[in-house]
């Protein structure tokens, strides 16, 4: 198998390129996705190679991007929509939640909306307000949508292709601060052999406690596990990959072994993914738990000014502090 070293951003680009090559119905649309290649250059070069009918620079209106993509999907296209930043998705929220998510259900299965909504999400890049948000709970709470996020270049490459090939509407969250992180990518891996989109994966095996994360926090948890290992504590790290529907089989299996679980995400804790994961672990692993499931998250405040975002975002120390607390219970 050919393995290339790619950044996460380049892996997404390569995955979309492959999707455009494989299916003439795939179209990419969004603000600045054409000549500019997107503000993060994730669609770099695609318009040049596939033309402006397949990689479409749209007017600057997010509801319009998603709403017209619904129409294209009814027409038989497979739109891949880019929302420029997490904080700009809300004008499209109605179209996503009331239209995209419900069309298949309302039509009793007769109409599919095979749409991917790509959103760079999360903080850590020193951006101004509205550029660092984690809106995953809003979408994960919506029946009819699937929500996925990648944590490394290999997953970015495969999962974006899986998402585009899927008939389900998928909100695809890209960990923007990890766009530049490099890793090996098997570029000729045939798509059907790759794992199903919803499967979680063990990112690092361990025996003493289970860290559960997704997107940008997987790297943080892996770093925490490396640090913990130096102190003789083996942490298992699980990358959820898909947030809706959650795939928690491996999480339960892990927590039954370790007895301790910490869920980590950048989004605020209140009614967040961590709450759902904790509740389900409690239901499924009650007699195995040595401590309550803890959450390490952003605070329940608006995303703060970037000069203090390092204090806001969960980091290695806060993760390890929570692990310590599970042992002190």
């Amino acid at each position: 198998m050919a393995t290339e070293t790619l950044t996460l951003g380049k892996a997404l680009n390569a995955g979309m390129r492959k999707a455009l090559e494989n299916d003439p119905k795939v179209v990419i649309m969004g603000e600045d996705v054409g000549k500019l290649g997107g503000v993060f250059r994730i669609t770099d070069g695609l318009q040049k190679d596939f033309g402006d009918q397949r990689v479409i620079d749209t007017p600057l209106a997010e509801s319009g991007i998603i709403g017209t993509a619904v129409g294209l999907a009814i027409r038989g296209y497979r739109p891949v929509c880019e929302i420029q930043f997490d904080g700009f998705v809300y004008p499209a929220y109605d179209q996503i939640v009331s239209q995209v998510a419900k069309m298949h259900y309302r039509s009793r299965g007769k109409l599919k909306i095979p749409m991917v909504i790509r959103i760079p999400f999360g903080g850590g890049i020193g951006a101004v307000e509205h550029h660092s948000e984690s809106p995953e709970a809003y979408f994960s709470h919506t029946p009819g949508l699937k929500v996925a996020t990648c944590a490394n270049p290999q997953d970015a490459y495969v999962m974006i292709q899986q998402a585009i090939a899927s008939d389900d509407p998928i909100v695809f969250l890209e960990p923007k601060r990890r766009y530049w992180e490099k890793g090996p990518v098997e570029v000729d891996q045939p798509l059907p052999e790759a794992y199903p989109l919803q499967a979680a994966r063990v990112a690092r095996p361990g025996t003493d406690a289970t860290l559960i994360a997704y997107g940008p926090m997987v790297r943080t948890c892996l770093d925490a596990a490396t640090a913990a290992a130096e102190d003789g504590r083996e942490l298992e790290v699980i990358d959820l990959r898909t947030l809706a529907p959650l795939d928690l089989g491996q999480v339960y299996e892990s927590v039954r072994r370790t007895g301790r679980a910490v869920v980590v995400h950048e989004a605020p804790s209140n009614i967040g993914l961590g709450a759902e994961v904790a509740a389900r672990i409690t239901e499924e692993c009650f007699y195995s738990l040595e401590s309550p499931v803890l959450r390490v998250t952003g605070f329940d405040i608006p995303y703060p000014a970037s000069r203090v975002e390092e204090e806001y975002l969960p980091d290695l120390d806060r993760v390890l502090d929570a692990v310590d607390r599970t042992f002190g219970w």
Binding site: G71, L72, Q95, R106
Partner: protein
């Protein structure tokens, strides 16, 4: 409103061909049939387009038939709601001409994106009028394939469908399906209230810059539930099109012939690659917004009476009578058909079964979801736990 010019004959083949503006006294309104049933040979729209229709007597009669049919079926649905058989009904009363005219202007290959009131358009597409009643009875939420009927599911969120229509029309361009008589076009329905929505304005932008082959068909029925037009706009709605860079025209929405002529022209322009246009069908919602509404709280009887005098069916009937295109036997036969079809509709509504409770878990995702599967199974188990129980 001025009366039709008595100097103009009412029928094409007998008329002195003559075009004119302002047949109604309103220079902005395209009208081919006056409220008194006088036929106007042709009218020039604000952009110089000349509108005219040329129908056979049989076709004129069939327009009348459709108008009566959709009104009768609508009245039956209202009655069904009053009797508790429908949860809600959004009546088209008063808007029959705008819907029948525009609906019949669609060609087979054209695609329609309705609101929740386009029962008349649906009927003219040849679709069984029972189709949307499941939604209003509460036994489904649409449930049809838009592509099968070239008619999208009803959209309740105001204006959202205009973007879907625009995207679909962009797809027509991408498929290269414009530029000939067989070209495809899209019609997006919405109301005066919707013109304040962001989605509608965004769809204007999109359609314009992508030269989408579509017609924005605004039925200005003067009210968004209780709010009069003045709360939505300071200028005639059709003039908004100019700001977006495409033509706009106001048509007498109670004139089925003009509604047809204007829509057919706009659709044909679109299918030939000339891009979008906006039609403002100037009409009046004679009934309530829906069966849950009480219009006496916000409008006066004299206003309703004034519009009653412009009734779309009465004027068509007057025209047919004056021109001896139809006789009493014909009108009686149409009424009989309307009655028959409405009884048939009623019978079938009453027979609509409630869905199986567990079917609510179906079709959430094309590829399914373990979470939904789990909840379906738990729900089934829960129901089974009552089996054999006295309760």
């Amino acid at each position: 409103m001025a009366k039709g010019d008595p100097g103009v004959s009412t029928r094409g083949r007998r008329a002195v061909p003559r075009s004119r503006k302002g047949a109604t006294g309103d220079p902005e309104l395209v009208q081919l049939l006056t409220p008194e049933g006088e036929r106007i040979e042709s009218v020039t729209g604000p952009d110089g387009t000349e509108y005219r229709v040329d129908f056979t007597d049989e076709e004129y009669r069939s327009f009348y038939r459709d108008l009566v049919l959709v009104r009768k079926l609508d009245a039956e649905a209202t009655a069904l709601q009053r009797q508790g058989e429908l949860g809600l009904w959004a009546s088209l009363l008063g808007q029959e001409a705008a819907q029948v005219g525009s609906g019949r202007a669609l060609r087979t290959q054209d695609m329609a994106f309705p609101t929740y009131r386009e029962h008349g358009v649906l009927y003219c597409r040849g679709i069984d009028p029972i189709m949307p009643l499941g939604l209003f009875r509460g036994v489904d939420q649409g449930g049809w394939d838009p592509n099968e009927f070239k008619f999208n599911m009803y959209t309740i969120v105001i204006g959202a469908q205009t973007l879907h229509a625009t995207g679909y029309a962009m797809g027509i361009n991408m498929d290269g399906k414009t530029g000939t008589d067989e070209g495809e076009a899209v019609i997006a329905y919405f109301g005066d209230g919707a013109t304040s929505q962001g989605d509608v304005n965004e769809s204007f932008v999109w359609a314009s810059v992508f030269n989408a082959p579509m017609v924005f068909f605004c039925q200005n029925n003067q009210y968004a539930i209780s709010e009069p037009l003045e709360r939505q706009t300071r200028i005639p709605l059709y003039r908004r099109a100019a700001g977006f860079g495409f033509p706009g025209v106001r048509v007498d929405g109670n004139d089925v012939l003009a509604s047809y002529a204007v829509t057919r022209h706009a659709l044909d322009n679109a299918r030939h690659g000339q891009g979008p246009s906006l039609i403002e069908a100037y009409t009046y919602r004679m009934g309530a917004h829906t069966t849950s509404d009480d219009p006496t709280r916000y409008r006066i009887a004299s206003e309703v009476e004034a519009w009653q005098a412009k009734d779309p069916i009465a004027r068509m009937k007057a025209f047919l009578v004056k021109q001896k295109i139809a006789d009493d036997d014909f009108f009686a036969e149409v009424d009989e058909q309307a009655k028959r079809e409405s009884v048939h509709l009623r019978e079938r509504v009453l027979e609509m079964p409630n869905p199986e409770p567990s079917s609510m878990f179906d079709h959430v995702y094309p590829n399914g979801s373990p979470l939904v599967d789990q909840q379906r199974a738990q729900f089934k188990q829960y129901l089974e736990s009552f089996e054999g129980s006295a309760h």
